[in-house]
Symmetry: C2
Subunit: 292 residues, 2 copies
């Protein structure tokens, strides 16, 4: 297992972690400059942040600083009420692949979607099995395009508390079943993003990481689970402040040959987003060394 | 599948659902009278509510009204930091069995516990595998006592969002693995309580209900998953107000021969606990007919 205690060579910052500075939205250009200044060598960005700054601007800035992208957030949201909705999602996902290619991302992360309308509080139906079929079909279709463009797709199983509104793929086992069905040859075109926040509770986690193996382990996201957790979405903790044994899970990943970045992704409306983003980045570096 | 649309013969009220009347704690005696008055034939009570009223008082009242107990809440909380903590939990669980016997409950529901200290916000360690071993050991030990007293134990898998602080048994598969290990003969002494709130998201739910079979399906709890959910513990919805396809899950239970009560268990600090409990009970009866 790699020793992270001496440097932050393998730290990546998901830019959502510092999207706010003292509560105010912060431009992606400023985030990138702040990361580069600290010797952070990788980031992962969100599409809306890139769009706000302009893709060419971000593409140039990333190249100028020789930054790597440990992932691009995000494609997915496949389920829809009708054929037009399915097609709109597919078109948007192809654009996400194009952007990920332009930024030379390691993978496009897929948050797959769930019950149509649920995110707005008005689910159109309750048939989660139907949504799961639409997800599998959607990934199959997108995979043709992403393969042609050599952009790996990383399915991110989301915590079961998001099953209604954000992602109906909720365990590693479920994600890997899709990988096995759509890419039985383990080509490297399809895999999983392992976010400790979503999967730490799973009694089958170690076994499923072993099952995934090197070809399917495409990203490793870290933060922490707080007790109590006061908000289902935006109360993630800094590594070391919660109950997740992160080094143990990283060890399982590395036992399979994973040698990529540990990407810090913290949504924290009440705490970290209220602080100076400089303090947040410095804390990420320190905790990467001590708690990841 | 039984037709619930015409009466509420198979409705049980978990007394937590109406533990508050317009926000004020309500005595269990008043809850029981209100249920009996409406022709509700079963309840499930919590130990603290029984203790506040006095076990002999509640026992007599239940008998006077010929009420059945679809379950008794709860035993469990097995993990502890040291041997004294483990022993204290065991002693308390034996008392819970005794109380369940006195009330002639169908089963003692087990909320198994998780990381010691986490419920108070100070987890003593992060080793969830250790907690899971302590849970399995604890159930094994309690099973000897409960069998001797002919009180079935029903393991309730809790939603993964409670894995840190309330229960580290989080899927039906995991609960049934314990049942298979400790009671391979399917004696009827050990099984599961299926609460749709905790398990609705699980892609393996139907298969695991089939695996459980009649002997292990000891209780069926209903409420609904709201979108958005604003609190991890106390924002459960009334049946029909959320995204869970409850009749589908009940159908899976009944296909295995389950013929017991549908127990309504709603924790709702912001909504239902703020209303007149008479309105809540009447709504439970109506929704039992239309949405369960």
């Amino acid at each position: 297992m790699r020793d992270f205690s001496r440097d932050h060579r393998w730290l990546s910052i998901n830019t959502a972690t510092v999207r706010k500075n003292r509560g105010a939205e912060q431009p992606l250009t400023a985030i990138i400059e702040a990361c580069a200044k600290r010797g952070i060598r990788a980031i992962s960005t969100w599409r809306d942040q890139v769009a706000a700054a302009g893709l060419p601007v971000i593409s140039k800035l990333v190249k100028d600083h020789a930054l790597e992208l440990s992932g691009y957030c995000r494609g997915g949201m496949f389920p829809a009420f009708d054929a037009a909705g399915i097609k709109a999602a597919h078109d948007d996902n192809r654009r996400a692949v194009d952007e990920a290619c332009e930024l030379n991302a390691a993978c496009l992360v897929l948050v797959v979607g769930a019950l149509p309308g649920a995110l707005a509080g008005k689910a159109i139906h309750k048939d989660i099995a139907l949504s799961r079929t639409q997800v599998s079909d959607g990934i199959a279709e997108l995979l043709e395009y992403s393969k042609a463009n050599r952009m790996p797709l990383a399915i991110e199983p989301l915590h079961p508390m998001y099953a209604a509104d954000r992602a109906c793929i909720n365990t590693m086992e479920q994600a890997l079943d899709i990988c096995d069905a759509l890419d039985p040859g383990r080509s490297g075109a399809l895999g999983v993003a392992v976010d400790v926040y979503h999967v730490w509770w799973d009694p089958k986690l170690e076994a499923q990481i072993q099952r995934a193996g090197r070809e399917r382990l495409m990203a490793f996201h870290v933060c922490d689970w707080l007790t109590p957790t006061t908000d289902l979405l935006n109360d993630r903790g800094m590594m070391g402040d919660g109950v997740i044994d992160i080094p143990k899970i990283r060890g399982w990943m590395e036992d399979q040959g994973f040698a990529g970045y540990s990407e810090v992704e913290i949504f924290s409306s009440g705490n970290w987003w209220q602080r100076e983003s400089a303090e947040v980045l410095d804390t990420c570096i320190a905790r990467h060394r001590s708690a990841v």
